[in-house]
Symmetry: C2
Subunit: 437 residues, 2 copies
C-alpha cells in the first residue's frame, strides 16, 4: 500500500521538519565537521553505576518510609498514577532551588518537557480562534506541538533582552481586535533557545502584570537555569501570585536526558458548570491519560533517587556541570573575539548570553541551507536561525550550540567558522587564504 | 486565576473520563472490596534485581558488540534517536515470536502503546471528514486519543467472535455515501479489551481482504497474545502482504509495565508530491518528535536486556505468567458456573474468552454507576460495560478483569458478586440472604 503524503496531517509537511532532516543529513555527510548544531547536553559526570545508585537510593527511601517490600517493587515495576509518583520530591526541589511554592497536587510528571507542552496546549486550546503567542525566534518544540494540534501561533519579535510585555500586549490586543482569542504566551525567560536572550528582572515583573491585566496565561519554560553560572534571576512562577504561569520543567539538563522526565506545574483553578473547582493539573493528567498514560516508573525512580541524593538541591548537584557550560560559553565568546576582531571588518556580530547553551551570530550574508552545506565542507556545522522563525526572519543569522563540545573542539570550530566566513565574503573569485591550509 | 472548564478542550468533558474518575473514587471508598475493575498486569515474577540485570545485560551486549565505553553510557544516559534505539531487537522478536517480518526501519519505539495510537491517528487523520472505525464495545485508549485529536469515530457492533469484516464494510460504505473518509479500522483481534472476544482465522483473512478491497488501513492492537494460554492464532500483521496493517505493540504485559515501552510497526510507503518515497514509520517519528521527542533510553535499555535474555522469545519467557492468567481465567469461569448455575434462574450470562484479562457478563438489570456503588457495598467492584460504548449500549453488562487478582480473591469476589446479583434481583423488599453474613 502506498499512501500519499498529502493525505497525512499537515504538520508532517512543515518545512521545519525538512530543515531538521537536512541538518541531520549534513551531520551524517560530514562526520569530521565540528557541529555547533545539536542542543544536546554534555555527557555529564554520571556513570552507569550512579544511575543504578539513584534507583537503589529511591527504593531504600521508600523502604525507610515504611512501604512494604512488594510495593517497593511496584514503584519501579508497575504502572503508576497518571499524574506521577514523585510529585512531593519535585515540589520539595522547586521550593528549595527555585522559590516556587506549589502543592504536589499541582504537578503533573511528564515524558520530558515536550509532553508537558503538548498537555498544556491541548487542555487550553479548543478551536481555530484560540491562538498561541510565541517569541520570534522560538523553540521548535512548542511551535511543533502547536502545529500537531492545529493551533495557530502569533509571533512577537524578541528584543536583545528577550520577549517584552509591551510587545506581547500589542499582539494580544491586535488578535482580539480581529476576533481571535490569545490564550497563552510561551516564553523561555532564561538563556532562551535559540537566541540565548535572558529577560531582565523588570521585564519579568512587566510580563506577569501584563498577563494579569490582559487575562492571559504564561507558559514558562526554563531548562537551562540550574546549569548556568552567574546570577540566577527569579523564575516568573516564583512571583506568580495570581496563578498566571504554567511552569513547564525538565530534568534532561539537570539530571540526565535518558530518563526523559519533565513536569508541568499547573496550580490554576478550573471551575465546571456545576461550580465544582479542581486544578488545571487534574485536567492535564486527563490529557496525559490519552497521550502516554503515565511516565515510566523506572525513569521517575531514577530522578527521585537523584533528588533524594541531592536533598532537593539540584543547583548544588549541578555546580560542576554549570561550570562546564560556563567555560564552554566563555571559550566560544573568546574565540569569536579572537577570530572576528572589531577591526577585522567581517561584519560578524553576536550576543553575549549570561548562560545556557546558545549564542546567536549575525553574518554578512544569507545563512541558508546552501551556505550550511558550504560551511560543512569547511568543517563546521551550525543551525540556520531561519529554522526558528516560522513566519520568516533570521535569514542572516545562525545559532551556535556549545553545550556538548570540548573546549578544544570549540576553538577548532570557531577557527573553521572564521575561514568559512572569509571565504563567503571574499566570494568565489577572491583569494581563499587559509582554509585549505 | 480561575479557568472555566467550558473554555478547555472538549475531550476533557468527555463522560468516559468522569466514569473512570468515579470508578477510582469507588475503589478508594471501598478499599476492602475485591476489584475486578483495573486491567492491571499481575505483579509478575520479576524482582528489582532482575530489572537491574536486564539493564546490565543490555550494556554488556553493547560492549560485546564493540561499542566504546562512553557510547555504552550514552545508551542509558543520553537522548536517543526519535524512532528508538532497540528497533533491531524488536524486529528480531517479532520475527521469532509472531512471524511478523519487518525491517527495523519500519518500527517506531513509543512510550507505551498509547503513544503509538496517538502517533498513528495524528499522522493519518487530517480533518473533520476523516473518521475512525472502532468496535463497540471499544478500548478507551483509542477512543480517548481520537477525541483528543477531534477525530470522529464510527462504532461497529462486535459479534461474539469480535468485529467482522462484513459489518465494517457496511459501515465504511455508509460513511463514504455521506461524504466521509473512513481511513482506518481499530481492532484488537485477540482477547479484546473489554469484551474478551477473539477473531476466528477466517475473520482475520476476511478483514485483511476487506481492507484491501475497500482501501483502508487496519490498526491492530494485541497486548495479551503472548501472555495467554492455548492456541495462538496468527497476528493479522503476519499475513499482511499489501501492508494494510499498522501494528501497535506493547511490552507492558510481556515485559514490565513500569518501563512504558510500546511500538508501532508502520511499513506502509508514503509518497510525497515530488515522488520521493519513505515509510509511514518515518512520519510517525516526526509526530513523535512533537509529542515525547524520544522514548526514555533507560526504559529501552531495560526492555532490550529482557529481549536479549529471552533470545527474542517473549512467548517462552512468559510461559509462567501466561499460566497464571490462564489459571485466573479458569477460576473466574468456574466460580461463575458455581454461583450462577443454569438452573439458578438468575439470568446471568457470560462469554468464555480463550485468554486475555477480561470476561463480559450480562446481568438481568441495569449495571450503571448506582448499581456499581451498591455492588461495592457488597464488597465487589467491576467496570460497567457502558463505559466502553461511546455511542450508547452495554447497559446491562459488566467487564470483569481477573489479571492481577489471586485465585482466592477471585473466588471470594465472584461469591460477593452472586450475593449482589441476588440482592438486586430480589429487590429492596425481598429477602436479603447471605450478604450480611
Amino acid at each position: 500500500m502506498i499512501l500519499n503524503k498529502d493525505d497525512l496531517h499537515a504538520s508532517l509537511s512543515d518545512p521545519v521538519l525538512d530543515s531538521m532532516n537536512f541538518l541531520n543529513e549534513i551531520t551524517c555527510r560530514y562526520p569530521d565537521a565540528v557541529s555547533f548544531a545539536p542542543g544536546r547536553p554534555h555527557e555529564g559526570y554520571l556513570g552507569v553505576d550512579d544511575i543504578f545508585g539513584f534507583l537503589q537510593g529511591y527504593l531504600a527511601h521508600l523502604a525507610r518510609g515504611g512501604i512494604p517490600p512488594e510495593q517497593v517493587l511496584s514503584a519501579v515495576y508497575q504502572y503508576g498514577p497518571t499524574a506521577g509518583r514523585i510529585r512531593e520530591l519535585i515540589a520539595d526541589w522547586l521550593r528549595k532551588d527555585e522559590g516556587i511554592q506549589v502543592a504536589a497536587e499541582a504537578i503533573v510528571v511528564t515524558v520530558g518537557c515536550q509532553e508537558a507542552m503538548l498537555l498544556a496546549l491541548r487542555a487550553l486550546f479548543t478551536g481555530p480562534d484560540d491562538v498561541l503567542v510565541v517569541p520570534a525566534p522560538c523553540y521548535v518544540g512548542i511551535t511543533g506541538a502547536a502545529r500537531l494540534l492545529d493551533i495557530p501561533t502569533v509571533a512577537v519579535p524578541e528584543r536583545e533582552d528577550g520577549i517584552r510585555a509591551a510587545d506581547v500586549a500589542v499582539a494580544v490586543t491586535a488578535e482580539r481586535a480581529r476576533g481571535k482569542r490569545p490564550k497563552a504566551i510561551y516564553l523561555m525567560p532564561d538563556h532562551a533557545n535559540p537566541s540565548g536572550a535572558t529577560m531582565s528582572p523588570q521585564a519579568r515583573t512587566d510580563m506577569i502584570n501584563m498577563a494579569e491585566s490582559l487575562d492571559v496565561l504564561l507558559l514558562e519554560d526554563s531548562p537551562y537555569r540550574l546549569v548556568s553560572g552567574g546570577l540566577r534571576l527569579p523564575a516568573l512562577k516564583s512571583a506568580d501570585h495570581d496563578c498566571r504561569v504554567v511552569y513547564l520543567g525538565s530534568f534532561a539538563k539537570t539530571a540526565f536526558p535518558g530518563a526523559r522526565v519533565g513536569f508541568a506545574v499547573a496550580d490554576q483553578q478550573v471551575r465546571d458548570a456545576c461550580g465544582r473547582v479542581g486544578l488545571l493539573a487534574d485536567e492535564l493528567s486527563k490529557v496525559k491519560s490519552m497521550v502516554t498514560v503515565n511516565t515510566p516508573s523506572l525513569s521517575q525512580a531514577a530522578i527521585a533517587g537523584l533528588l533524594i541524593a541531592a536533598d532537593g538541591r539540584l543547583s548544588e548537584f549541578n555546580t560542576r556541570t554549570a561550570r562546564h557550560y560556563e567555560a564552554a560559553l566563555r571559550t566560544t565568546l573568546e574565540q569569536l573575539e579572537k577570530h572576528f576582531p572589531p577591526e577585522g571588518g567581517a561584519h560578524v556580530r553576536w550576543n553575549r548570553p549570561s548562560g545556557g547553551f546558545f549564542i546567536t551570530i549575525s553574518l554578512p550574508f544569507k545563512a541558508d541551507n546552501a551556505a550550511l552545506t558550504r560551511s560543512a565542507e569547511c568543517g563546521v556545522i551550525w543551525t540556520p536561525m531561519s529554522y526558528f522563525y516560522p513566519q520568516g526572519g533570521g535569514e542572516n543569522m545562525i545559532r551556535l550550540s556549545f553545550s556538548y563540545l570540548k573546549l578544544n573542539e570549540i576553538a577548532e570550530g570557531i577557527g573553521r567558522l572564521a575561514r568559512f566566513v572569509e571565504l563567503e565574503t571574499l566570494g568565489p573569485q577572491g583569494e581563499q587564504p587559509g582554509w585549505h591550509a
